[in-house]
């Protein structure tokens, strides 16, 4: 009896080790080009690290049970009459509750606090969705464009809205998403940390992520992150 527990535990540890190794080695994310992307990716990794032992625990019990506790066709019999002791259920609840509550705080509330820590912005960009294109305006410079161009290392506040149906503002390289809702202005902060263009990397794109009808999948706009000097040059050229 004790032997079974020991063998299953060894299997669990083995599977966990393999799982954690793979999770930390396999590239899980595309280009992370913003401070927000770093916070979100590290939340993801923490959840992976915590989730793998849970996954492998069940997997180990399944594999071990299936390989060991088969009924013999020639002599069918019943298993041990066990209803389960309250202590086991209580221990199980304590562990799952402990994990769930831990995850609420870290990465959940901690990540949220990091994402919202700084409410100041160096640059405001207004984004307006309409079927099926994005209109981007820079109120500071009086620029209207069909693309997003940003200076690197400057905190940007996007003010997002829609003129018709619900759209969603999503830049995969920045990891953030916020719906564009008619009648209200939604906000999201991004601090780009890496230069890049849509031509080099398709994750630098503004993609509509909320079903908006016929042209939904084509409702994209290129995103470019430039060095400050290049950005100033772009502003100079784009100004009306």
């Amino acid at each position: 009896m004790g032997r079974h527990y020991l063998k299953a535990a060894i299997l669990w540890i083995l599977l966990t080790a393999i799982g954690e190794f793979l999770a930390l080695r396999i590239p899980l994310f595309p280009t992370a080009a913003a401070e927000e992307a770093r916070i979100i990716d590290s939340s993801f990794i923490l959840l992976m690290i915590l989730g793998i032992p849970v996954f492998t625990f069940v997997l180990a019990v399944l594999i071990y049970t299936l390989s060991t506790f088969r009924s013999r066709e020639e002599a069918p019999e019943d298993g041990p009459p066990v209803h389960g002791r309250p202590a086991v259920a209580l221990l199980w609840i304590t562990i799952t509750a402990g994990l769930a509550i831990y995850v609420i705080f870290n990465p959940g509330l901690k990540g949220l606090a990091e994402l919202r820590a700084n409410q100041r912005a160096d640059l405001v960009v207004r984004v307006e969705g309409s079927r099926w294109f994005w209109k981007v305006t820079y109120p500071e410079y009086g620029i209207t464009a069909r693309e997003i161009v940003l200076p690197v290392h400057r905190r940007v506040r996007f003010e997002v809205t829609s003129v018709d149906v619900v759209h969603s503002f999503w830049v995969p390289a920045f990891r953030v998403k916020i719906d564009a809702v008619p009648g209200i202005v939604t906000r999201v902060f991004v601090t780009p940390t890496q230069t890049g263009t849509f031509q080099e990397d398709y994750h630098f794109r503004l993609q509509c992520a909320e079903l908006c009808g016929l042209g939904h999948s084509m409702m994209t706009a290129p995103v470019t992150v430039l060095e400050q000097g290049e950005f100033d040059a772009w502003v100079g050229k784009a100004k009306p």
Binding site: I40, K177, C208
Partner: protein, 615 residues
């Protein structure tokens, strides 16, 4: 004539529709509006049309006549024709539900195949973006209907009265009514092809659902009708389980599948109205110029999302609770061990019911709702993993040290555990606000909910179909084909949906007709896997059809199971038990010597000496 009731239902339905539509035209003329507007005409005509259909198909004969002092007319039909009638036998209604929803499942699966052909390569492949959006929306809503009703309506109807030792459901005519509300739902949804389609998904978010083609109106009417059917079904199950348990069937001896239907019915009865209300508000916006969701005229598009998810998140537990119950019902019989931690599991079910009502806004983390709501809804959502964890404790405790009999139902129940585990663990990433900001509305979410609903609920459904096939049909399915179906479906299901997590992380959002070319090879792999997954159902359907027609006669209790339905012949007689069974012990007490669940046919003295087998 076999189809006379259905024909009469169609004729009366058409008359009702003309009456209602004519009335609408008349009112519009009196108001000085253009008389023939298709959308209001359909909306107004539909409800008397629905009433005409229900009365014509049989509600008049077996029910409504007595309201006017007339004798009811019931035909005693016991051959295949009873399946095409307003029959009140719960076993017939169960089969009606089951066959209807398996057919709908295959239809929606066919739509999924069309979507995967389109997505095989970037750029347009076989259809237009508009048609893709419609097919995708159809796939979504039909599969949601299957997930809500196939287990509860099909297997629940068939098995619950048998499992609790009852003669039938508490309200047999309401039961028939809930089933006959389903064909109009299917007809309306298929008719959207002739009304410009609808492209707003199964979620129907306004303002999109208020400005698109008239197909949207048919969608709304279909879902409102379906909701009506769910509410009536839930009411019936609650009443049945509360009032019709056999003597001695105490709450602590209730089979776990019955508990799960009880818990799910509680949600169905109390939450479904919200979806109907939301869809009705869209109809009123469209047809009566009201402005619930029209921002330009003072409405709030976000309001709909709250109302919608206030039903639709609890609804995923309407789908998954009976699946938990079904898998856990099967595990003890095929592990030859008692159900582990039974009272804790039941408490877990009700923990899920309670929490399911206070997590809805986790679908709205990126919607623009106030930031301070994110933390609380993240917390309640993560807490659901505690009662759900008890399902795993019970399942693993049951199979551990058991004597596993790996028949097809058992394989599907174990497959359910594995798939739902992936669905559950990936759910944490969606519940966590920081990661959800990236993952929301991507293929990561598509992967997650297919693992919970298809990998979970649909696998449990197949477990249940194979498990009760001998009881339902009186014939045995082919075990080799059953196992082939399981392995084929299990492997291709995983190769289809696991890569979707990667796609979501790498920038593929959901509900799109086209995607960045760099994602082409992974999508091609998924499409090929999906075609293989789709073809596994050929094995399933041929097994079902051939075995039902020509399978070997099934014994009363081929699984040596202890629960009540196996103590009567296969298929069970019309009134189930010769006399009310006497329940004297737990349903799953395998391994205890001299333990008995129930005495069947003893007190009435008429029937089989169905004293419980001990394995």
């Amino acid at each position: 004539m076999a189809f006379a009731p259905i024909l009469r239902g169609l004729v009366w339905g058409a008359l009702g529709f003309l009456l209602g539509g004519g009335g609408a035209v008349l009112v519009r003329l009196l108001l000085g509006l253009p008389a023939f507007q298709p959308e209001p005409l359909i909306t107004i005509g539909y409800f008397p049309g629905l009433l005409g259909w229900l009365l014509g198909v049989g509600a008049w004969d077996v029910w409504a006549r007595e309201w006017f002092g007339l004798p009811v007319r019931r035909e005693a039909v016991y051959d295949w024709r009873r399946y095409f009638r307003f029959t009140t036998d719960h076993k017939v209604i169960g089969v009606q539900y089951l066959v209807t929803f398996v057919v709908l499942f295959l239809l929606a699966g066919f739509f999924a195949m069309l979507m995967r052909i389109e997505l095989m390569a970037p750029g347009p492949t076989i259809m237009s973006a508009g048609l893709y959006n419609h097919i995708m929306s159809m796939h979504g809503i039909i599969m949601i209907a299957v997930a809500v009703a196939a287990i509860i309506g099909g297997l629940g109807n068939f098995a619950v009265p048998l499992l609790i030792g009852a003669e039938d459901m508490a309200f047999p005519r309401i039961n028939a009514l809930s089933y006959w509300l389903i064909p109009p739902v299917a007809v309306l949804l298929v008719s959207t092809f002739f009304a410009g389609g609808f492209d707003s998904g199964w979620t129907a978010y306004p303002p999109l659902s208020e400005v698109n083609a008239p197909g949207q109106v048919l969608f709304n009417l279909a879902v409102i009708t379906f909701g009506f059917s769910s509410i009536l079904g839930a009411l019936n199950f609650l009443a049945t389980i509360l009032r019709l348990r056999a003597p001695g069937m105490t709450w602590r001896r209730l089979p776990i599948f019955v508990w799960s239907i009880f818990a799910a019915s509680f949600i169905s009865l109390t939450a479904t109205q919200f979806l109907a209300a939301g869809l009705l508000m869209i109809l009123l916006d469209r047809e009566a110029g009201m402005t619930f969701f029209n921002a330009a005229r003072g409405g709030a598009p976000l309001l709909y999302q709250h109302i919608f998810w206030f039903y639709s998140h609890p609804a995923v537990y309407i789908m998954i609770l009976p699946a938990f119950g079904l898998a856990l019902e099967i595990l003890p019989h095929f592990s030859r061990k008692p159900l582990y931690a039974y009272p804790w599991l039941v408490a877990g079910f009700f923990g899920i019911v309670f929490l399911s009502f206070i997590v809805w806004a986790h679908h709205l983390f990126t919607s623009g709702m106030p930031d301070y709501l994110h933390g609380p809804f993240m917390a309640t959502t993560e807490l659901i993993s505690i009662p759900t964890g008890l399902v795993f404790l019970s399942a693993l405790g049951t199979i551990w040290m058991g004597r596993l009999r790996l028949k097809t139902p058992m394989l599907f129940a174990l497959g359910f555990l594995f798939n739902f585990l992936i669905g559950g663990v990936t759910g944490i990433f969606n519940a966590d606000v920081p990661t959800d900001l990236h993952l929301q509305d991507t293929y990561f979410v598509v992967g997650h909910f297919h693992f919970t609903i298809m990998g979970g609920m649909i696998f449990a459904l197949f477990a249940g179909i194979y498990y009760w096939f001998p009881k339902i049909t009186g014939r045995m399915y082919n075990e080799t084909l059953g196992k082939l179906h399981f392995w084929w479906m299990f492997l291709t299901f995983n190769t289809t949906f696991i890569p979707m997590f990667w796609l979501g992380l790498f920038g593929m959002n959901r509900r799109i007709f086209d995607y960045p070319p760099a994602l082409g090879s992974v999508n091609r792999f998924i499409s090929i896997s999906a075609f293989l997954l789709g073809s596994s159902f050929v094995v399933f359907v041929s097994n079902m059809v051939l075995s039902w027609a020509r399978g070997p006669q099934a014994a009363a209790n081929p699984w040596q199971a202890r629960t009540l339905e196996w103590q009567v012949p296969s298929p069970p007689p019309v009134h189930n038990f010769p006399a009310p069974p006497q329940v004297v012990g737990h349903p799953y007490d395998y391994g205890f010597t001299n333990s008995v669940h129930a005495l069947v046919g003893v007190s009435g003295g008429s029937g089989e000496q169905g004293v419980d087998t001990d394995g």
